[in-house]
């Protein structure tokens, strides 16, 4: 098995002098600061020679004290080895510019666009630096820079101007106030680029084509996002995606909260996986602080995260079935029925239905209540029985199979190229699971299978989810058998101040690889938190998947991805 040291040796021999600094944190984490001019060559070398074929994302850090921007490229491998390489590139603050990796990795596009709109770091050779999450008004004020001052004062209605556009629809515009201009929220010079609407209209080819908007409010969207289809009749020629309708700036907010205060905020990144989000945020801080979590707390975390995976998959599948068959399609409601049982189990521990704020740095908030094991066992039994029934149902349903088989096929190569993870990747014959690749907590002690399917179509994605429900039930049962007694929280001071340092921590979220890149400077607030969410990658892969499909298939494909807009926008 390749380790971080091997990768470092290979890099140093191939590019002498290009590695300016390095740190080997463990066998599977390599941190290196590389020469900005050679980043593309180094990444190419890593991709081709060292199997780093999974571009996990990029993070920008504003080091205002050193007058520098740092861009960290996160590279990993799809199962060949567990090493994660974090390559840092430094660039001066006055003319920030970094070489783009879009030529090497298809999915670098969105990550770089995001860094551009938030920090103003230019990416050379990027095909189109358009804003992704921000509204056009805010582009140019670079909100994630440390010297971004103002928060808009959005307090009056009078500033909203209603204007009727030539199509006959009302448009609303908000003009900035003087306070905002003073605070620097409103940029003086704006970058020039065609807007989203203009870009898609430019591509219309013939008279018979039209743009069909699905969103921001539409029955298929799990949260507001804009899916525009260029259709010719019922056939989708091309799809365009605009996200950011619920961009909350969680990463920026986390910079203004202490480590403890940040936990409830991380819940809201993805409301169906809030325990995994807590876990990933606390785990990153624990890794910097070097704390080991007590064993009982580890088991509690695993139990709850697996339960939360079950409920998320039940909701995801149910919601998806409701897209296919309308809200009156009964299995959808039965799945929510089963989900409620799981939710009651989780609620009896955490005290909340959705946003749990349960995991703490060094442990968990409270212990399992009496009778939890019996309650959970009986709930799991129902869920397993019912899930088997649903599997049988979906296998025997001809109409369902007609709708789903061979729709939205992702070949294994394509799925890897798109940077997917979680059920959609596993449905494409790639058993890539963070619980195996980068094991945390007590996962190494547990016995479970990584579910995968060969077909890679919409049906396989749903099947993987249903199988994972059963597998998760199996894991929870094991945990309930094995759970030891003991403390549930390591002694941590009330004011958590990790030593200066950085960590990249990843867990298997219900939807895939969820990672947090955390930078600490020794104060009680993080310097930078970068969230690498799985759905971000799903969404990016959606437009190429939809090309050539029917309008009705859009539902079958987009629904089978089980997207969570909140996490994309953060």
């Amino acid at each position: 098995m390749t380790t971080a040291n091997d990768v470092l040796d290979a890099l140093q021999s191939a590019f002498p002098g290009a590695i300016q600094e390095f740190r080997v944190e463990s066998d599977n984490r390599l941190w290196a600061t590389v020469d900005p001019n050679k980043i593309v060559e180094i990444c190419k070398f890593l991709r081709d020679e060292e199997d780093f074929d999974h571009y996990s994302g990029a993070a920008g850090v504003d080091k205002i004290d050193e007058d520098l921007f740092e861009v960290t490229e996160i590279l990993a491998s799809h199962g060949a080895h567990p090493v994660v390489a974090l390559l840092k590139v430094k660039t001066p603050r006055d003319t920030p510019s970094v070489k783009s990796l879009t030529g090497l990795f298809w999915n670098a596009d969105w990550y770089e666009r995001e860094i551009w709109e938030m920090f103003g770091i230019n990416f050379e050779d990027h095909p189109g630096l358009y804003p992704l999450l921000l509204v056009d008004d805010l582009v140019g004020s670079w909100p994630w820079r440390k010297d971004f001052k103002g928060y808009p004062d959005y307090n009056t209605n009078e500033r909203v101007l209603e204007k009727i556009n030539p199509d006959g629809y009302a448009e609303y515009k908000i003009s900035p106030t003087e306070a905002e201009i003073e605070a620097g929220t409103v940029p003086e010079t704006r970058p020039e680029y065609p807007t989203f609407r203009e870009r898609e209209i430019m591509e219309l080819e013939t008279e018979s084509e039209m743009i069909l908007h699905m969103g921001p409010q539409h029955a298929i969207v799990p949260g507001p996002f804009m899916l525009d289809l260029r259709v010719d009749g019922e056939r989708v020629k091309k799809a365009y995606l605009d996200v950011g309708y619920i961009h909350k700036g969680i990463e920026k907010i986390l910079e203004n909260r202490t480590y403890i205060q940040g936990i409830p905020i991380t819940d809201r990144m993805c409301y169906l996986a809030s325990l995994s989000n807590n876990e990933v945020f606390c785990g990153a801080a624990e890794r910097i602080m070097g704390i080991e979590v007590p064993e009982r707390a580890q088991y509690i975390r695993v139990i709850l995260e697996e339960l939360s995976r079950i409920q998320s998959h039940l909701l995801g599948t149910g919601e998806f079935l409701s897209l296919l068959g309308g809200a009156t399609f009964s299995p959808f409601q039965w799945m929510i029925l089963d989900r409620e049982e799981i939710i009651s189990c989780i609620e009896s521990v955490t005290g909340a239905r959705i946003n749990h704020s349960f995991v703490r740095q060094g442990g968990v908030r409270n212990d399992l209540p009496d009778g939890f094991a019996e309650m959970t066992r009986s709930a799991l039994k129902t869920v397993v029985d019912k899930t088997n029934e649903y599997k049988e149902l979906l296998l025997s349903d001809n109409i369902y199979r007609k709708r789903m088989e061979g729709i939205g096929i992702l070949s294994p190569e394509e799925a890897r190229r798109f940077g997917l993870s979680g059920p959609p990747l596993r449905a494409s014959d790639t058993p890539y699971d963070m619980r195996r690749e980068d094991p945390i907590l007590v996962y190494p002690d547990l016995d479970f299978n990584v579910i995968s399917r060969k077909e890679g179509d919409s049906k396989a994605r749903v099947e993987v989810r249903l199988d994972e429900i059963i597998e998760s039930c199996h894991i929870v049962e094991q945990c309930l058998d094995q759970i030891p007694g003991g403390p549930i929280r390591e002694k941590v001071s009330k004011k958590i101040k990790p030593a200066p340092g950085e960590a990249y921590y990843r867990v298997e979220d219900p939807r895939g690889e969820m990672g947090i890149f955390l930078v600490s400077d020794g104060s009680d607030k993080p310097v930078k938190v970068k969230v690498r969410g799985p759905v971000y990658a799903y969404m990016q892969a959606l437009p190429p998947l939809l090309e050539g499909a029917y309008v009705a298939d859009v539902v079958a494909i987009a629904g089978s991805m089980d997207a969570c807009t909140s996490e994309v926008d953060r």
């Binding site: 205060q261 940040g262 409830p264 905020i265 819940d267 609620e347 005290g351 209540p369 149902l393 025997s396």
Partner: protein
């Protein structure tokens, strides 16, 4: 074929029991850990403001309130919670040093106006003192405060005297130095 679909729906229609929780009449049994509306024991609250400091949403404000325990809470400031902003994370409860702020299983709130959902100490308090008790306690507290003040004044005087003495000594030594 699609026979299985029909079978299952029929099974549910015939054998299924209605699971609906008939909310307004029947309220579901909630676990003890439930994080609902706060409850404040005004007799033990010391008004330290830890809850207000830890709140990530800054939804807790310390306001004056009459029916508390002035012996413990000198300034008579108690938390007022803006439920239009509280996200029920439970950090305030975890951080409360005396355990006087807890979360109940009560969750039914809805307001016609924004102000309806701002809960002052009066709305969340338990163990309120009656008017007489409050007056009595206030009196006690006043006496205690006066005594303390007196003590403090005395202490201050003593300290001052000491300081002056020390100063004199200092000056004396200074003079000595000068002399040298």
């Amino acid at each position: 074929m699609v026979v299985k679909n029909f079978q299952l729906t029929l099974k549910h229609a015939i054998h299924g029991i209605e699971v609906t929780r008939l909310y307004p009449e029947v309220i579901m049994d909630l676990p003890a850990a439930e994080r609902g509306i706060h409850q404040l024991d005004v007799r033990t609250c010391i008004g330290c403001g830890a809850c207000a400091r830890i709140c990530p949403n800054s939804c807790i404000e310390q306001v004056s309130y009459k029916y508390g325990n002035p012996l413990k809470n000198k300034k008579m400031k108690f938390p007022q919670i803006d439920y239009g902003r509280c996200m029920f994370c439970g950090l305030c409860v975890d951080d409360c040093p005396t355990g006087c702020l807890t979360m109940t299983r009560e969750f039914q709130i809805a307001g016609w106006n924004r102000n309806d959902i701002i809960f002052g100490p009066d709305d969340i308090a338990v163990g309120k003192y009656s008017d007489e008790e409050a007056a009595k306690l206030a009196e006690e507290a006043r006496i205690a405060a006066e005594e303390k003040k007196k003590k403090k004044a005395a202490a201050a005087k003593a300290k001052k005297a000491k300081a002056e003495a020390a100063k004199k000594g200092d000056e004396g030594s200074g003079e000595k130095k000068k002399e040298e």
